[in-house]
Symmetry: C2
Subunit: 256 residues, 2 copies
Amino acid sequence: MSQHRHPGVPGRAGAVPALPDLPEATVARLPEYLRALHNLADAGHETVSSEGLAGAAGVNSAKLRKDLSHLGSYGTRGVGYDVALLIDQIEFVLGLTQRRAVALVGVGNLGHALAGYAGFAGRGFRIAALFDADTSRVGEMINGLVVRHVDELPRVAAEEAISIGVIATPAPAAQAVAEQLVAVGVTSILNFAPCVLSVPDGVDVRKVDLAIELQILSFHEHRKASLTALPATGGSALTALPGGLTTPDTQEAIGT
Amino acid sequence: MSQHRHPGVPGRAGAVPALPDLPEATVARLPEYLRALHNLADAGHETVSSEGLAGAAGVNSAKLRKDLSHLGSYGTRGVGYDVALLIDQIEFVLGLTQRRAVALVGVGNLGHALAGYAGFAGRGFRIAALFDADTSRVGEMINGLVVRHVDELPRVAAEEAISIGVIATPAPAAQAVAEQLVAVGVTSILNFAPCVLSVPDGVDVRKVDLAIELQILSFHEHRKASLTALPATGGSALTALPGGLTTPDTQEAIGT
DNA sequence: AGGCGCTTGTGAAGACGTGCACAAATCGCG
DNA sequence: CGCGATTTGTGCACGTCTTCACAAGCGCCT
């Protein structure tokens, strides 16, 4: 399907066999594996079986093995995976060997919280700059960083190598901010504003909408409620709901 | 496939043909359609074509039609969909006709922002109570709500009909909080803590992990960077990257 | 009334993701 | 050195999701 399989790109290819193009579903799970692996490493484990790691990451062990097999063979049959080696591999594939600089635009309610979130630092990211369009907010210090006006974005982007832009503005401002980010060369955007962004080809957008998450849960709540009102399908148990609500599947399918 | 197709459940079934069980992928998109429809309604549109709505929601029009067809036939051929009617239908299916009460546990950095987020109110939810385990935080007022100790959860749950629990605690506390929520009858949980929750069957968990979103973007960033180092596939354009990075697809696949 | 243009709803095909089940590989022990 | 226990890596079958392409239906205009 894809014809880029050159083992020796002149630039800087060590023994690493260049990026295999992973299925998107696998990519979405790798960070979860990585987090679980860090936990295991902190707990002193040197190796872990696919079963063990799958349990810690909340997935099926066959799925985990297949996911990892896409990275290459980094396990030992009969033993398991070397925790430290696997961490290095996943971090490399995810591009986390460099600490990526994140620019956050919009320091309102949510943006403020994101700017102060300590979890990013430990997972490969560094909030490099804060921006807002509201001049009354410009100059404010948050977590050791000064809030700048969004018009300064080009200048700041020239100094710092911004890798990812995070949009935490109100919805009406988001599209314009996205265009400004793209204009200074940002090709990855995480959008918290409840709206669709239109961006050129080659720019990746991921969206997180808190209300949507709640609405999806609301649907399942609604469905569960309407099922309990139905005549029993033969079961009398009060521990489990009637119907095909299998939760290992649910936790899986829904958590994605 | 499913044998619950009773048109007249005694309780309160009007002409509504009871909940069809929708594909999970469809459920995940309905909230996006709903938001787009509200925008259209505010802009004065009475009807909208599948093409128009699909554009506003950022999806393929065929997919949108198939999604909506699962709800029943609420469009008119040659005309389109009645905006107001479709809003009602989707809100019903998602269980948003009642304003659902949300309990938020953990008023740290992120929890604080969530408690103050105005976006919930307009989209079918009401933050009914705030909890924290830190006694020094108990009593604090946020957005008109008092923070209570998490041990009061049973009492409060008895008064308010809590529909959804939101966990915004540090990871080590999340599992215990989840168990407390389940114990008081909560069957839908939105988890912001970076850890896997284990819950009984019949309880739905959705997870939002900000660092994971960034790491997924990081992967694509890494991949794009390694692609630009490859010999050109024949293209000379500097507007588009080489390789098969089709963005309509990306925005779609990634945004889920 | 009839025809024409437009839009929905859907059958079918293909792409994608999942999970089982097992062969291949490795370690440790006798 | 060989054998059994263990665990990875993967072929295969199945289910879900997406997309195309088109028939069926609706309204409008003549």
